[in-house]
Subunit: 108 residues, 2 copies
């Protein structure tokens, strides 16, 4: 299992819409998250302009699973709605949308 | 089980020291974390001035467990070292050091 911490910005004027959307994520989007071996996935808000995500990846080919997720039409429709609300942070790696953060501590 | 997401600032000039300390946290501090019903505890860095934490609380009295942790002499010595490196964020609740963040999404 591999743990991920990620950060992204959010346009504050879209905060309420983003929270409301995430209180009722489309079932097909959730099913694809599970099918792509993502578990225990949480998103937290810091103010109205910053999101922090934590999840656990239990598969053995993260790149392939993310490509599978990105090819799913319902996930694409969801992202077409979500991505304009988000504001990726400076300093993220090439190709990243959410920026992956270094883990500085873990205790089971 | 209750999940927590938290944020705090870090003085950038102490980043390297903070990371090094957390690569070798004192065994007594780790034992107290476990004894106080904290599980799956991760800390991530965003740049050198921001930390995000995620953990799971499996006990039934979080306030009492945190009081127990705060009363532990070795934990106090650890905090005496860590806290001057940290820079709590504006907007946290009264009595908070790390600010607890609202969860906007969770999927098991």
């Amino acid at each position: 299992m591999r743990r991920f911490g990620q950060v992204i910005g959010l346009h504050p004027d879209r905060y309420d819409e983003y929270v409301k959307a995430h209180a009722a994520v489309w079932p097909g989007v959730l099913a694809m998250i599970s099918a792509c071996n993502i578990r225990n996935y949480s998103i937290y808000a810091f103010g109205k302009d910053r999101l922090f995500a934590y999840f656990e990846y239990v598969g053995d080919d993260f790149t392939a699973d993310m490509a599978r997720m990105a090819a799913d039409p319902e996930t694409q429709r969801w992202w077409d709605w979500m991505m304009p609300m988000q504001d990726p942070v400076e300093g993220r790696a090439e190709g990243e949308w959410w920026m992956e953060l270094p883990e500085v501590f873990h205790h089971d």
